[in-house]
């Protein structure tokens, strides 16, 4: 099969899995009660894909997923797309260079770092846009409690997901990364 066609199929698959992750993220929000509904399934999904594929394509999966997320967000267009994609890129670099292993602890730490970077950038963008448009929300900083729940619950869920996926994906049992 020509490589261009393989790439096209790969891109299609990438869009489909991102699409499914976003549907699950929105759909399952109504299933769980607070604070478990603060779980960020898109971040969890991006981190698990990164662990399995170890590929830079994860960044584009993040890009596609956050593009779909933007379609249903009340925030200005681009805030989630930029923050999410750049967080995926930084997480990928950290995974390859700093962590350089595939333990459950790495998964938990990487998820927490992803959310930390994502929410920092996201908050900064919303704050900047708010200042620029003169529409600053007074309770903006009070949302950090909510971010805390998101970080804690998603990180724990990522650790559990890694633990259970190890049973089905032998690759996740090896702690060394592909060169």
């Amino acid at each position: 099969m020509p490589s261009s066609r393989v790439q096209l199929i790969g891109a299609g698959l990438l869009a489909i899995v991102s699409f499914l992750a976003v549907i699950l993220h929105f759909g399952l929000a109504s299933v769980f009660a607070y604070p478990i509904n603060k779980i960020n399934l898109v971040v969890l999904f991006v981190i698990i894909v990164l662990l399995i594929t170890e590929s830079g394509r994860t960044v584009w999966i993040g890009f596609t997923a956050y593009f779909f997320m933007e379609l249903f967000s009340l925030a200005p267009f681009g805030a989630a797309l930029y923050s999410g994609t750049i967080s995926a890129l930084i997480s990928f670099w950290l995974y390859k260079t700093v962590f350089a292993n595939r333990t459950i602890l790495t998964t938990v730490a990487l998820t927490a770092i992803f959310i930390l970077i994502y929410r920092s950038q996201y908050s900064a963008i919303i704050y900047a846009v708010g200042r620029f448009s003169g529409d600053i929300e007074t309770t903006f900083f009070s949302q950090f409690a909510s971010y805390g729940w998101e970080l804690a619950i998603t990180a724990v869920a990522a650790g559990l997901a890694h633990f259970f996926l190890k049973l089905f994906i032998p690759k996740l049992n090896t702690t060394k990364l592909r060169k």
Binding site: F26, G27, V31, K38, L71, I86, L89, S146
Partner: protein
């Protein structure tokens, strides 16, 4: 390091181009198709989630009993019967909600658009629901959204062609000017808290409010009718050293279980 910098710049440039194309309206059709596809999926999961939670609450999935003579067929029949019963109960509830809405709107001059809830967004920043009517149906930003007999559940936060996102009253960024039912003046602001609570704030210390009082919209904002039910005061928090008192409200509608809404598109004022 230089390679990383280059990648960072490239990816930022791609994102920048997508954002610019969005604001120029050049990605509108792609976004609409994507939105429709995602909405369909979300709607399915949302409906299934509500359906399952109801059945769990009603105990519709009882533990299977030991097989009696007649065995498997009887159990299958019983399961099928219980599922149908649950479906009928859901439809009855939806019907009752639609009848109350009909009663409310037939006795008012408001023009409204009915819509189904197709999903929910519980981002730490937004507590919102997604509905299947949008700009094409005449919905605009900040239009009030009600259920049943005129119970306010939120305001439209974003409108697309065929869908809209409703910011619920328990969202941290939600603000509605409100008063106690029967009063003639605006009393304070109803604000949401992290998607889990609703409170009435900015109430002057000299105003008398007490648990059990009904809080309604004061109609001070554009497009917002006066008298839409919001909640009942549960606790009053009054500290002498503060300029304002506040109250925690119990919302009249169950914000986690909304299936059909009406958007008031014209108050006739």
């Amino acid at each position: 390091m230089q390679l990383r910098g280059k990648k960072f710049v490239n990816i930022s440039a791609v994102i920048g181009v997508v954002i610019v194309l969005h604001y120029l309206g050049l990605t509108a059709s792609l976004e609409n198709y994507s939105r429709r596809a995602v909405s369909g999926g979300i709607s399915l999961i949302y409906r299934a989630a509500i359906y399952l939670s109801r059945k769990t609450e009603e105990g519709v999935f009882p533990a299977p009993k030991a097989c009696l003579p007649g065995g498997r067929e009887t159990i299958e029949y019983q399961k099928d019967f219980e599922l149908k019963k649950a479906r009928v109960s859901l439809l009855e509830e939806e019907n009752s909600s639609l009848r109350s809405s009909l009663g409310f709107f037939s006795s008012s001059t408001y023009r409204h658009v009915g819509a189904d809830v197709i999903g929910r967004n519980i981002d730490p920043v937004d507590t919102a629901i997604i509905i299947n009517s949008g700009r094409d149906a005449g919905i605009r930003i900040n239009d009030p959204v009600v259920v049943g007999d005129g119970i306010l559940i939120g305001k439209v936060g974003r409108v697309m062609e065929t869908t809209a996102i409703v910011r619920l009253i328990d969202d941290t960024n939600s603000r509605v000017a409100a008063m106690v039912a029967g009063m003639n003046k605006s009393l304070g602001l109803v604000e949401g808290g992290y998607g889990v609570s609703v409170r009435l704030g900015f109430v002057p210390q000299n105003e008398i409010i007490k648990p059990g009082d009904m809080v309604v919209s004061s109609g001070l904002e554009p497009n917002m009718p006066r008298g839409l039910g919001i909640g009942i005061i549960e606790i009053v928090e009054k500290k002498p050293q503060e300029a304002f008192q506040q109250a925690i409200l119990k919302t009249l509608a169950d914000l986690r279980d909304i299936k059909v809404v009406s958007v008031i598109i014209d108050t006739g004022r």
